[in-house]
């Protein structure tokens, strides 16, 4: 920065000064403001330009305010000869560059409105484009942002001009001018590199950097060498250095689309990162704008904040319009910036909330897991060994209500269901063999003369069909699935064991629940004993008379517990058979998600059949408000498959516990037996 008066002061830097001077103009049309540090290095000689000159240049060149932005595209050659002459010279820059620059300058203006930082330009088109890069930044096509211009061979032999806005912005530390910093996600240290950064040393971030040089051959190495020697931070930044020495090449680069939104811009390389960078840059800029003296600290702050930065922003709102549209006014620019701030703040808040929620959920999950493992050991080590002794104790019953840990569920179910029927593994084998024989003979005789369409005969065929459509989402009972054969065997053996009951649709999911939790023989024993319970037997046989008893009893408790819904159901024609039939027969495996159904089973095995009806009342209570607004068909549809919600199990069970199955001090069994007669 100290080199302004250096005799070797390059034309480029003077141009840069000049441009800076123009930037304070309030008009949006004015060329962009930016901090560019331009250094020209030619054959070992380094020239540094600093922003500090800005006020001076303003004074020196007051009339530059009038200059149209387009004119800043002077040729470096001119600048080299006359520091100020370049202002009005545009001849060496192609039209494409000019227009590009125009738009980019607008962009910059809009973005850094509040910054009165003078524009810097490394070289003719390049400086402005570099400025534009601040906004376009990662969005823009890298090739576009690398502008080249022809340097006069006489003055600028082998010059590589690199401008890095970022570095420049950090240079601004000493200036009061806030800068418009384009902070990339760099550690604070990098935000404020030493003021004496040479062109080559400046980290060449591909997009914020433009470099121009006369010779293509040299620059890369040159930059890298210098960069290595300058500072480590610089070397850490990846750099793309491009030199175009010939006009041809330049024109190629000029033909690159000028506006990333509307032009043909190649796809972004890494959108997330880019969005993040933009956000960070914006953040940093804001911070700097507020407190330039503490720029460094601010930079650190913004760096620290990065963790919770919303990553979704692309800051497009801060972009300027395409060149063929009128530029934004200052107010609009300001408004957009404010809007953007609001959006960012909103996004941040949301992400913070989300993060907190995740954290809470994680904790909750951990807590639950811990509890489950505790409960598991209690069930395994204390309760199950002394089952008969403990099963009725208050403590066990309370623990039971909470739901059984999955690892002991099968064992608890098994002992809770018991084996009144004294079924043995041998017996199961016998019926299984019989079922297989039957299956084979059925396959032979099935084709014609189905004159005996008796349910019993068709059972085996029906089982085959139903097994493969049991819990289809689990994909374990379908043909070829691990439990397909087991489920089929159990159901087949059961129809041979109890031809008087046979197979009924709905049994398959009941047996499947057992298969999921216990071994094959245990599942068969539990299944047979379960179906042998009076309520299950009634529903599996579809014993209409007995079912009416159950429905009638249920209605008594329903009317008591939920009188409004009861009346609504009655006036809509919703009778218990329309939903209870399904619920009881499938033991809630159809209407409820599997995990919730498991918990209903848990307590069903604790409390017996009345719990099935109590669970029904709990469901109706939970959805009472919804159901009151529905008609018959909608109610029936709603109840046949209840919505799967978060925390459904806990919610449902809190409703169930608030619904004791009591009617005028009469218990379930009392009301049921009064229906018997």
């Amino acid at each position: 920065m100290e080199d302004r008066d250096d005799p070797s002061y390059s034309p480029v830097s003077s141009l840069h000064l000049h441009q800076r001077h123009r930037s304070p103009s309030p008009s949006g049309d004015v060329i962009s403001r930016g901090h560019l540090q331009v250094t020209c290095s030619g054959e070992g000689e380094e020239v540094r330009a600093s922003e500090r000159e800005e006020p001076l240049t303003c004074k020196l060149c007051p009339r530059t305010d009038d200059v149209l932005p387009i004119k800043c595209h002077c040729d470096v050659r001119e600048a080299g000869e006359d520091q100020w002459a370049g202002l009005s010279r545009t001849d060496d820059v192609t039209e494409a560059v000019r227009t590009n620059q125009n738009s980019s300058s607008c962009t910059k203006e809009s973005k850094v409105n509040s910054c009165h930082r003078p524009v810097t330009a490394g070289s003719c088109g390049g400086g402005a484009s570099g400025g534009a890069d601040l906004h376009l930044d990662e969005l823009a096509d890298p090739t576009r942002t690398v502008m080249t211009s022809n340097f006069d061979p006489e003055t600028q032999e082998e010059e590589g001009v690199t401008s890095d806005l970022q570095e420049l912005s950090s240079d601004d530390d000493d200036d009061d001018d806030e800068a418009f910093t384009t902070d990339p996600p760099l550690p604070p240290g990098e935000l404020c590199p030493a003021p004496t950064v040479t062109a080559s040393a400046i980290p060449a971030r591909s997009k914020n950097t433009f470099q121009s040089g006369r010779r293509q051959s040299a620059p890369d190495q040159l930059v890298q060498e210098d960069g290595g020697s300058e500072s480590e931070l610089q070397s850490r930044r990846p750099g793309i250095v491009e030199f175009f020495s010939s006009r041809k090449q330049r024109s190629v680069s000029h033909s690159v689309p000028g506006w990333k939104l509307f032009g043909k811009v190649p796809p972004k390389q890494s959108p997330t990162k880019e969005a993040r960078i933009i956000q960070q840059e914006f953040e940093a800029r804001q911070v700097v704008a507020c407190s330039s003296p503490t720029h460094h600290a601010a930079g650190q702050q913004s760096w620290r904040k990065v963790e919770v930065e919303p990553l979704s922003t692309t800051a497009l709102i801060l972009e300027d319009r395409p060149q063929n549209l009128p530029a934004k006014s200052a107010e609009e620019t300001q408004r957009h910036r404010e809007e953007y701030e609001v959006m960012v703040a909103e996004a941040k808040r949301k992400e913070l909330k989300e993060a907190q929620r995740k954290e809470e959920r994680k904790k909750e999950r951990l807590r639950q897991e811990e509890q489950i493992s505790n409960n598991t050991s209690i069930w395994t080590n204390q309760i199950l060994p002394q089952w008969d002794h403990m099963k009725s104790s208050r403590r066990v019953r309370d623990l039971w209500w909470e739901g059984l840990p999955p690892s002991v569920r099968g064992r608890v179910w098994s002992v809770a269901i018991g084996n009144e029927l004294n079924i043995t593994a041998e017996l199961y084998e016998i019926f299984l063999c019989r079922a297989r024989e039957k299956g084979r003979s059925l396959a032979v005789t099935q084709s014609d003369e189905g004159a005996s369409p008796a349910d019993r005969e068709a059972s085996l065929e029906l089982i085959t069909r139903d097994v493969s459509r049991t819990f289809p989402s689990l994909c374990v009972f379908q043909k070829g699935g691990p439990y397909h054969d087991m489920l089929q065997s159990i159901l087949g053996a059961y129809t041979c064991y109890r031809p008087d009951v046979g197979y009924v649709q709905g049994m398959s999911s009941m047996a499947a629940m057992l298969v999921l939790n216990m071994e094959e023989v245990d599942a068969f024993i539990s299944f047979s004993n379960l179906i042998n319970r009076p309520c299950q037997l009634t529903f599996c046989r579809v014993d209409h008379q007995q079912m009416l008893r159950y429905f009638g009893t249920f209605q008594v408790f329903f009317e008591d517990a939920l009188p409004r819904l009861f009346l609504h159901f009655r006036s809509s024609g919703v009778t218990p058979d329309l939903y209870l039939m399904d619920w009881i027969l499938s033991l809630y495996t159809k209407p409820l998600p599997l995990d919730v159904a498991c918990r209903v089973w848990d307590v069903f095995f604790r409390d017996g059949e009345e719990f099935l009806f109590r669970a029904a009342l709990g469901i109706l209570r939970m959805y009472q408000d919804v159901l009151l607004d529905l008609d018959l068909i909608s109610i029936a549809q709603f109840l046949s498959r209840l919505p799967d919600e978060e925390q459904l199990s806990d919610r449902l069970f809190s409703y169930i516990s608030a619904t004791p199955i009591l009617s005028r001090n009469r218990k379930w069994s009392q009301v049921l037996s009064s229906y018997s007669s």
Partner: protein, 213 residues
């Protein structure tokens, strides 16, 4: 004011288990074919609006019954309040065709004093290679019972719309001609309503007649 629907018809769908009742209804009401569907336990419910003529919409309330024989003790209670029915058999399953008699008897003995307009549906007609029931014999049977016959496929969406719409039109004609009357305490046919004004069946019928002329 526009009536949301002119009438609501309750239809019942019966037939042996696994002939594809639920799949047919799902194709009609949801427009998709489910490879796997739960076996129906008791009864399932569906509904859809059908526009039989421009501006004349009928709401169909479809009761999908379990096919397994033991559920008949439950489902027989649902005949009484139905105005129409689809009686399905599987053209690849002769037994399901032979059971059509039983189903009809079952229905007729439980629908009194009302009657049901039935449509005989030969389902799974995409499985032509496995056909066990010819179209001729099915049509003959349908004729003997005074029913229409249609062959459908839920998988390939063949005649699904036609089956339901034809049946709906037939019932609509009977309602318009007064052969089927709306009655209190009978759910088979319900008249639609214009908000704020509950039409009697006669008014609605007259209104629709005027529109026809």
């Amino acid at each position: 004011m526009e009536t949301i629907w002119l009438y609501q018809f309750r239809l019942i769908v019966i037939g042996d288990s696994t002939v594809g009742k639920s799949c047919l209804i799902r194709r009609f009401t949801e427009g998709r074919f489910a490879q796997v569907s739960d076996p129906t336990v008791g009864v399932d419910f569906f509904s859809r609006l059908v526009e039989i003529e421009p501006g004349k919409r009928i709401k169909l309330q479809i009761w999908d019954t379990a096919g397994q024989e033991r559920f008949r003790s439950i489902t027989r209670a649902y005949y009484r309040n139905s105005v129409g029915g689809l009686l399905l058999f599987d053209i690849t399953n002769r037994r399901s065709f032979q059971n059509v008699h039983n189903w009809l008897e079952e229905a007729q003995s439980h629908v009194q004093p009302h009657s049901i307009v039935f449509l005989l549906v030969g389902h799974k007609c995409d499985l032509e290679a496995q056909r066990q029931v010819t179209q001729q014999e099915a049509e003959k049977l349908a004729g003997a019972f005074g029913m229409r016959y249609v062959e459908t496929s839920a998988r390939d969406a063949i005649n699904v719309e036609k089956a339901f719409v034809d049946l709906t039109r037939d019932i609509f004609e009977l309602v318009r001609n007064g052969d089927i009357k709306i009655q209190d305490g009978w759910e088979g046919v319900k008249s639609g309503f214009v908000p704020n004004t509950v039409h009697s069946s006669e008014e609605v019928t007259k209104g629709s007649r005027q529109c026809f002329c």
